[in-house]
Point group: C3
Chain length 267, copies 3
């Protein structure tokens, strides 16, 4: 199998949750993982996903996962439906391995993946109804990481999986720690030096720069982010606060005629 | 010795402090540990224990420690008395190993443990009067983790240790990141489908459900948490905020006669 | 080479950034490091450096680095000039190895260090203009950690490096999580039992104690911190809030005549 080719590297498991860092919850998952796979290298992606915010969790996880080796196991738990009827998944493709609830959280990682529905109680007991992260998902991630076959964790899922809720129009997908607003604007629609306007929160932006330090002070700009998406940024400032923008806000791109006919003077 | 049986697994050291994550303090402890025990696997439990809050630290540590292998060393520093007369401890039982101040923080882990009082300066020097976490506790944890005998760290303590302050009546023990209020209500006092009332912050709760997703929207419920304690929860909401509850708040359980005589109508 | 002497210990890489923990950014750097150096032990120093605050980043990094083994690689990214003309550095001395921007952030670690300017694209491609942390610095840190020669990362820098902005007068250098105010007051100027006054925010302090628990309740004191600097502290309280002090605030030390002539009675 693919992930056995690098047998000399310790297995990596990442963790993405909405658990925060005040409680014992994240550590309980880690203790459980290390009990099953003592050589695992544990890497936190984020535990500050807003409570129950599957869309944000999927966004952050997908972005981070792209920088990890393909044999990494991504364990993600943003799971408002825990204990209910939603399925619990483990999955494997040539690019990712992942474990978590079937609620859209893992969806960006599941292209062309084989997916199994986890059976309850991989530790031999019933998982707590309220903490599948520790009792169901963590042991499954540890078993994948230590080399167990995917199919040993459950039965292959044939039907459709729950997709991640996706923006259906131009919008702000994510506001980062610095206030940069990540958008789904196609970079080709806003070429450097082109004649276009981006309308965002009542403001009009018309300048694209290559780096934050190229931006004029005080003027919000478009910039190509490091994940290939266009961002709205403000040099030395917090764009989202300054422009009063939030995740989900609609955007508009207006293409301007490169040589406007100026017929108004003819009339 | 017990912890030498698993010699092939790297030693685990957990860290629980009230240091926060803005300063260098946690990293200083880790650098010190890795200097003494380069193969240690370091796992953060929490560094967001409120400053000086021994009771909360003991609660979070005890809960997390239950999920780790027994040879794990739990290093905990919530230590308002640092540099004063409180003793510094290292301890070992069949279930836990632990290092920290003798102020109640470690108390839940010390049942049937052998305990030693750390001698100053395991590095050969005097520890800084203000940072025993780095200068006294971290080296001791590293030495335990790498296999040094407990007795090599200090002299066995014979007398009583400082207990953790415990709630003497029904109360909220902990409010978690999601707003769930962990209580010390005996689960048998509030059976599913039973006739009881829990009084909390002027509200009366009378419904127990198995999972968060079983709860009716907007109605606070009792639920059995994943550590075996009863919690007050609110589906898709923050119970503590909605019910104006905080740690330490008193609770009351009223058992109702399963077949009330309804004498009021007789009178 | 020095760092090859301890070949049996896994290499340590620390991370210090202003990225926060909500986004994928820190994890992207870690995924990149582990792709290049799978055995690296990753230790977070802090990701809560205020955005773009080079001085604070340099303070926290320098303090933490002092507790790590000298072969540790310290990767630091507080980099408001990313993508601009500032140089990207890797450095090595007998006490530290470090990777980051040439903006003062690494300056406290660079005494007597050999320093190279990183060439773009150590992965074979152009780094993203906005995320050198992931695309330029992380691979360089991983290569140093796995044993690559410093000179293989770029050309030796001959000229001066950007210094860290330093306080030119007595001031508060840092306010920590507990509200302790770290100062640059020389400990010899405020001896225990001496006759001096420290003026801070309109208040006068005149007591130095050895430990927090030696301080009288409610009375702000001077205390020798665990990094050798004098701190203003308040037992069981938050000194910065109580005294309305912030980083950068000026301080004054007034030495008092040990035997004041008391001429006022003579006049």
């Amino acid at each position: 199998m693919r992930h056995l080719l690098k047998r000399s590297s310790p297995p990596i498991i990442t963790l993405t949750t909405d658990f925060g860092l005040r409680d014992a919850y994240v550590a309980e998952m880690k203790g459980c993982i290390l009990s099953h796979c003592p050589t695992a290298v544990l890497v936190d992606i984020s535990h500050e996903i807003p409570a129950g915010d599957i869309q944000e969790g999927a966004f952050v996880l997908a972005r981070a996962a792209a920088s990890f080796p393909p044999e990494t196991v991504h364990l993600a738990v943003v799971d408002p439906g825990v204990g209910g009827t939603r399925r619990a998944l483990a999955a494997e493709s040539t690019r990712f391995r992942a474990v978590g609830p079937d609620n859209g959280l893992l969806a960006p990682l599941l292209d062309a993946a084989r997916v199994v529905a986890l059976e309850d109680g991989p530790q031999g007991g019933q998982p707590a109804a309220t903490f599948h992260g520790r009792d169901l998902f963590a042991p499954a991630a540890a078993r994948l990481a230590r080399g167990d076959d995917l199919e040993s964790l459950g039965s292959l899922v044939q039907g459709a999986l729950v997709p991640v809720p996706a923006a259906t129009s131009l919008a702000i997908l994510h506001v980062d720690h610095f206030g940069n607003c990540v958008t789904n604007i196609d970079p080709r629609q806003v070429p450097t030096g082109g004649r276009w306007q981006v309308l965002a929160g009542g403001r009009s932006l018309s300048l694209r720069v290559r780096t934050y330090s190229d931006a004029p002070a005080g003027k919000p700009v478009l910039i190509l982010g490091s994940d290939g998406r266009m961002e709205i940024a403000l040099r030395d400032g917090h764009a989202a606060t300054a422009l009063n923008l939030a995740r989900g806000d609609r955007l508009e791109v207006i293409q301007q005629d490169p040589k406007p006919p100026r017929r108004e003077k003819d009339s």
